[in-house]
């Protein structure tokens, strides 16, 4: 009996130690990756990064055109993807709560949420780049917008479902039409959650590279023309990191640091917002 008891206790301690080790591994990677990024990226961080264009190999330069390109692509994608996402989520939570369409859309949306983003790039290449005859900023923005939609749909639906029905009933009883009830009462109650969704979508697309490779492509020069190829930070990182030139690689590290800071800040803000929401 005693040996059996000791064996069980031993197995338990072993398993518990291993799970602590697992947690240490998980946290260790995060710390390791961030430490390397800061260590490698900070040394290249100077004013030129924000004021000069991406250079040819061997000369000095910065990431200005890539940063601006990324901002334009991300901003446009959010402008295009958010309304569609919010409307679709609204239909699912407000009008067709138990309808067949909602069930199907929810399922398909969840799949789009984790679908490989490179496939989205191929899709936009097939439908837009081939039709327009060249790579363009607008094609890149559309590709990113397609990634935004499922994120926003999911959070909008979830947040609207959390709004208590009594609120809607109270507004309806005052004679407000349905769309007033939704836009003035339900949206207002779900606002923080929906903003969180948009922030998460921005975080998600600001590091996306694969769908931009053959839609927006890249551009060594300053370009705000939506019908021409447009540079973006992730694609510049991809190109520069795989190049043999050391100054390009340095710029890639600096760009990586910038993106990571942005993404982590966005996800932390989103989390803080939703945490505050839960307390109230």
């Amino acid at each position: 009996m005693h040996a059996l008891y000791r064996g069980r206790r031993f197995r338990n301690s072993l398993a518990m130690i291993l799970s602590v080790v697992a947690a240490a591994i998980g946290l260790g990677w995060l710390v390791l990756i961030l430490a390397v990024l800061v260590f490698k990226g900070v040394s290249g961080l100077n004013l030129a990064v924000f004021t000069e264009m991406t250079p040819p190999p061997g000369s000095a330069g910065g990431l200005l055109n890539a940063i601006v390109g990324s901002l334009i692509l991300t901003g446009l994608a959010i402008l295009m993807g958010t309304p569609i996402g919010i409307f679709a989520g609204t239909y699912m939570a407000e009008y067709g709560r138990d309808s067949k369409l909602t069930t199907v859309v929810r399922f398909i949306n969840d799949i789009l949420l984790s679908a490989p983003s490179i496939v989205i790039g191929l899709f936009v290449y097939e439908t837009m780049v081939l039709a327009m005859g060249n790579f363009s900023g607008i094609a890149g923005a559309v590709a990113l917008a397609i990634i935004v939609i499922p994120v926003v749909v999911r959070t909008t639906e979830d947040m609207l479902l959390l709004v208590p029905n009594t609120l809607r009933e109270a507004a309806s009883a005052l004679g407000a039409p349905r769309w007033h009830v939704i836009s003035h009462v339900a949206y207002k109650a779900a606002k923080t959650g929906m903003i969180t969704g948009v922030l998460l979508a921005i975080a998600r697309i600001s590091g996306e590279t694969a769908p931009l490779l053959f839609t927006a492509l890249n551009n060594q020069f300053w370009s705000v023309d939506l019908l021409a190829p447009m540079p973006s930070l992730p694609v510049v990182i991809f190109q520069f990191a795989l190049s043999p030139y050391e100054d390009w690689q340095q710029l890639a590290w600096t760009g990586a640091l910038l993106i990571t800071i942005t993404v982590l800040a966005l996800s932390i803000i989103a989390r803080a917002l939703s945490a505050r929401k839960m307390e109230t």
Binding site: M16, G26, L27, V36, I84, S114, I146, G207, F238
Partner: protein, 326 residues
């Protein structure tokens, strides 16, 4: 004005406003409905576009496309076997590495970790999921691969050189980049998904079940393996499949470290390729309809594989959610 006309005009005002409400209501409802339908159309559009784009390649090579590993842009002969093989092998190795660690972290978070630390550690693990794929790629190429090349791979080759079977699995010069490196990076990337979902489904175990097991004198490990895991099995498998779906489609991180070689090697230290890495590396350089079309066909295969895996994952997770609802 008499009292009657005032009432009448008020009545017509009222009906006019009501009519306006009815119209705007219908417009708003129509807008939301078409957005919901647009999500479906989007998925349909992706499938149609990929099928259309891959038609030239599939009609030229037929079934042979799936069974040959030839990939020759000069003679325009293409086969998808090497990238399919690489995609599946890297994902499976990644799962083998990440599943125990991910479940271990979930056990830590739900059973051992002090309450005050649960949220911060949970968030930290989830932040790992938010880091863009390209960051893992550049880190893998410049930090992780050289480390593996210098310290880990020579040791692996030396250790397994005398053992039949394993010696061919760990053969060849230590390049640093290759199938194993890609699998390791994938494992790190999918770890947070496995952890987050496993933790969430673990938390669905009714406390009473766990308490009764503890009351019988079970150790924590016995509670986890005999109560929590059997109760949440479906959800854990769903989470693992979801992670598998991510691993199959992961592009940038793999592209940096896999070596992009269109051949199947017995050694997991050798360079290989995956579907998404091939597309990312070669698409903009692909000249000629057949080359482009072959790459799009690869995309179609990837989409079909991930669709099946993700659909299965969602179905399993839905079953857990339904049980919670009841």
């Amino acid at each position: 004005m008499t009292e009657r006309t005032i009432l009448r005009s008020a009545g017509s005002d009222r009906s006019r406003t009501l009519r306006k409400f009815a119209v705007t209501d219908a417009v708003f409802r129509g807008l939301t409905y078409s957005a919901a339908v647009a999500v479906l159309v989007l998925l349909g559009g992706v499938i149609v576009a990929l099928v259309h784009g891959s038609y030239p390649a599939l009609s030229t090579f037929g079934l042979e496309f799936f069974t040959t590993q030839a990939w020759n842009p000069v003679t325009e002969h293409f086969g998808a076997l090497a990238p399919i093989y690489g995609t599946i092998v890297t994902s499976i190795i990644a799962l083998i590495l990440a599943v125990p660690v991910g479940i271990g972290i979930a056990i830590f978070l739900t059973e051992i970790c002090p309450m005050a630390l649960r949220r911060p550690i949970g968030i930290a693990v989830e932040l790992l999921a938010g880091i863009p794929s390209i960051i893992y790629g550049i880190w893998g190429l410049f930090v992780f691969a050289p480390f593996l090349q210098q310290y880990v791979q020579p040791a692996l080759i030396a250790t397994f050189s005398g053992i039949p079977g394993l010696s061919s699995l760990f053969a060849g010069p230590p390049y640093g980049i290759g199938v194993l490196t890609a699998s390791l990076i994938l494992a790190i990337m999918i770890l947070p998904f496995i952890t987050a979902i496993t933790r969430d489904v673990f938390e669905t175990t009714p406390p009473m079940l766990k308490e009764s097991a503890y009351g019988l004198g079970c150790t924590t490990w016995e509670v986890v393996t005999k109560v929590v895991l059997p109760f949440t099995r479906v959800g854990v498998i769903g989470g693992i499949m979801l992670a598998l779906g991510r691993a199959l489609g992961e592009t940038m991180a793999v592209t940096f470290v896999i070596g992009n070689a269109h051949r199947i090697s017995a050694s997991i230290l050798a360079p290989g390729t995956t579907i998404s890495a091939s597309i990312a590396n070669e698409f903009t350089e692909a000249i000629g309809e057949l080359y482009t079309s072959s790459l799009i066909a690869l995309g179609l295969i990837l989409f079909v594989i991930t669709f099946i895996v993700l659909a299965a994952a969602r179905y399993l997770l839905l079953r857990i959610e339904r049980r919670l609802g009841n």
